[in-house]
Amino acid sequence: MSQGTNYVLGVYDDEDVLMDAIKKVRGEGLKIEEVYSPFPVHGIEDALGYKRSWLSIAAFMFGITGTSLALTMQIGMMGVDWPMIIGGKDYLPFPSFVPVTFELTVLLASFGMVGTFFGISNLKPWAKPRIYDIRITDDKHIMAIDLDKNEYKEEDIKKVLEGSGATEVNNKTFEA
């Protein structure tokens, strides 16, 4: 076995076969490192035992921040720093503040959430991704199993993968 991290890759052609395979492989007690797909496979995060994404909560928090910032800005500028009567309206015309408050809420919620998503998923223009198989972005689903994290022998893992409907079983090593 070569140096670095060694993976066994199961290649699947079909998302339904993949879903069944995940259950089967996990049922055998194997730890799946990650599954890679060309498109979102629904229910896969539950099958892999991932927690629900908390990004919606992040969006909410950023949204609240936007609301507060917008209100603070408008009240501060029009009510505190330089109060003026415009068009016979109050110093603090709250109905007038609604549009800008709404827009800044949406703006911060969106950008905050997307920024967080990029951060936690390590998405950035200069990222050097580990590509297990370039067909992942075309039409193949790949199940990666880290050999060092499983107590099974390589041959046994390969057998389980083949038995689960994988059309190919390959090895992949990333240098340390």
């Binding site: 079909d14 339904d16 599954v35 890679y36 797909s37 060309p38 498109f39 979102p40 496979v41 629904h42 229910g43 896969i44 995060e45 892999l48 991932y50 994404s53 990004l55 919606s56 969006a59 800005m73 500028m77 029009m78 720093d81 330089w82 415009i86 068009g87 309206k89 015309p93 503040f97 549009p99 800008v100 709404f102 827009e103 800044l104 949406v106 703006l107 919620a109 969106s110 950008f111 959430m113 997307v114 998503f117 990029f118 936690i120 998923s121 998405l123 950035k124 223009p125 200069w126 990222a127 991704p129 580990r130 590509i131 297990y132 370039i134 067909r135 992942i136 972005t137 075309d138 039409d139």
Partner: protein, 473 residues
Amino acid sequence: MSDVSIPLEQDVEIATEHSHSSESPVRVPLVTGGKTVHDVTEDIAGRVEQRPTITWMLAMAVSLATLAVGSYSVFVTVWEGIGSWGLNKTVGWAWDITNFVWWVGIGHAGTLISAVLLLFRQRWRMSINRASEAMTIFAVICAAMFPVLHMGRPWLGFYWALPLPNTFGSLWVNFNSPLLWDVFAISTYFSVSLVFWFIGLIPDFATIRDRATNKISKLVYGALSFGWTGAAKTWAHYETVSLVLAGLATPLVLSVHTIVSFDFATSVIPGWHTTIFPPYFVAGAIFSGFAMVLTLLLVTRKVYKLEDYITIQHIEMMNIIIIVTGSIVGIAYITEFFIAWYSGVEAEQYAFINRATGPYWWAYWSMMTCNVISPQLFWFKKIRTNLAATFIISIIVNIGMWFERFVIIVTSLHRDYLPSSWAMFYPTQHDLGVYIFTFGLFFTAFFAFAKFFPVINMAEVKSIIKATGEKKK
């Protein structure tokens, strides 16, 4: 609408979670031609990799020439000032704001398709959302040109439009002003749409990156794909991000044209001062936006041979939305006329009588014919499934919607309270030139997009191939 060929309820029923288990045999496939997942990659990414065709180069040359011609008027506007336009002391807003509202409206279809239809789990959006979102972004850029140029001295725009302390007038910007709300609405709309569009593009850029054979493509698409790997964990977050963005973009798109309509509705000008404006403007925006999506997609579909992805069914669905929104717009025209009479306000009554029978009667009746009558033809299935008819009506609708804004703006202004202030608006060469400039900008951007970006969202279409394609594995 009993003869609609797609039973939508069933589409909702087999909503995404169960797409791998339940299938309805009666549903018309959304992707035809027996495409496999790999075919989708070949068809869409293949386009990006090909050398530009002669047709594309010609189209690009025409767009760039248009842009160049229009640039002259932009230069004159900035160099000499707003006096180069046909505005006068009575009609202080005319083509500029007409074009602004027209372009912003066109943008609305993209967000509607990608966000609202996502929330409603309408899967037919998937092969048309990418191009529509691109259209949104380019249309909003074109729209923004007009208020920026109308400032006269756009380089001072920072002080006028952004909340910075300044010494030119009031110390801060005025948050009572709908024009300032517009600044926030349009810039938020633009940035959120751009992010939404880009998020959707990342997995597709990764596909192109992994297929790239030359160094430049590898580098460019590698950077654009942000190191995407397609990991299940990332996809799970990605799905949440798309859904939440759709949830945020839905009220956003409604707010944008609402706020645009406030530019008029919060004033005291007869013909503008009306509470019907927000919903009426939003419906009109979606109406014109879908018309523009159809105009662009019918051409893209033909040139790129995407008949299997953008099927007659897709076109029919869009035409149905055109009937619905066109009818809402029609009812709004009649309602505002009725309310003007019913209000008993003479100035208000005069504004509407003048619209229909005054010197701008031809604009009013063009608007009525194009927007109210022409889309009603889509009640006939033969017409709404006919490509040529759809193409022609989509252009008629866009002409009609331009006239709508012209009618609202110019006819309400040109007969002021005092007859001594009455005036007509005559556009100059530069009014026309700036409009032409935005056409050049729009089409240059769209053709560049169509060449270098995947015009159809590959990842999304791949996810429905099995459930709704023709070929069952």
